[in-house]
């Protein structure tokens, strides 16, 4: 079963720490819902995944986005 995140953050082309800041802001806006983050470099991918784990969320990294990765941060409490 796959839920579609309501908020998509396009952080491609942004350097740290901006992708993590935008992902964090999106998690607040999503009020516990899932969030999808697009990144195009390994540093941002790892940093966003670490943000998810600090927030107690699961992060699924998919290699299928154009020019990078789609990171699906799960909804809270799943």
């Amino acid at each position: 079963m796959e839920t579609t995140p309501s908020i998509v953050v396009d952080a491609r082309g942004l350097a740290c720490p901006e992708p993590v800041m935008r992902a964090k802001a999106a998690l607040v806006r999503a009020k516990g819902g899932s969030v999808e983050v697009l990144v195009d470099n390994g540093t941002s991918r790892d940093n966003v995944a670490r943000l998810a784990s600090r927030e107690g969320r699961a992060a699924e990294i998919r290699d299928n986005a154009p020019d990078g990765w789609r990171i699906i941060i799960s909804a809270a409490g799943i």
Partner: protein, 369 residues
Amino acid sequence: MGKKASLFSTAPGIIVVGAFIGSAAALLSVLGNPANMGICVACFTRDLTGALGFHRASSVQYLRPEIPAFILGSFAAALLAGEWRPRSGSSPFVRLLLGALAMIGALVFLGCPWRAWLRLAGGDWNALLGLAGLFAGILVGIVFLKRGYSLGRNYPQPASLGLVMPLLAAALLVLLALSPLFGRDAAGNPTGPIFRSVKGPGAEAASELVAAAIGLAVGFLAQRSRFCTVGALRDLVLFRDARLFLGLAALFVSALIVNLATGRFHPGFAGQPIAHSDGVWNFGGMALSGLAFTLAGGCPGRQIFLSGEGDGDAGVFVVGMILGAAISHNFNLASSAAGPSPYGPAAVIAGLVLTLAIGLGFRERASAA
């Protein structure tokens, strides 16, 4: 690809990298590099600037192999990991200015963030004022980031752009090996590069091969681990993320251990090597540096490593540091062991005004996600 990255993105991974860099830096001083300056990204870039004749301060001219080796080590690591990605377009001109301003501030303090920690590890308490300034600059940078400061996105570029910095680095190493002199006056004195100091800090150096080998290893490991001395404090404050800070702490502790073991720890404020004890401008110089590095996204080392992995904007920042070194010495802004130059404080204040204006002026585009 992801698995390779995760090895270095763990806490033990970054601690090993930081410990390697700290001990290698302290050992480079034992092997001939200047005291408490085994590795100083700002100072070595300044020496390189002098070797090329862009400034003529005769005591600080040497084409330090560590700097091009950092670029090539990072280039190799990025290629092997599939992370070599030519990209550019994120406000390159602003990054040029930030690189120059960061360098001007660093040369008032006499060291970049790397050397600030290495100076502290050698017992130079003046570094405490510099580190306080660095931290203050980073905190102001964080305020701007929270207000939406952004230099905008970069975009993929052709492979040729990503090859510029590695090829430039290789060319610098060839110039070091051949040491040509491009000009001599009637008396036979050199009037043109490649210059090499005969006395002063620029004359103190470990063997070129050892320095290049250590530089390659540092560049390789730093690219894989994202080691960054400014990101360390920034991420700790901004995200409570201590990963990069662990690497920085490991650098400090390992350099301290090597210094203690080799009798190179001399605590005090006065008479420290290649340092002055004007606390106000040690603080001010590094505050300017810390703010400029934060607004550019990373410390001077990180900018060099990013330039090796294809980031053209980071390459422009590095060129900005070369420009800043030339300005610092040609306009007599850089400090000496005697203290700040008469023009250094005004340069720091003007630099802070300009850097604050950049922080205020560049905001997230309204349409950005």
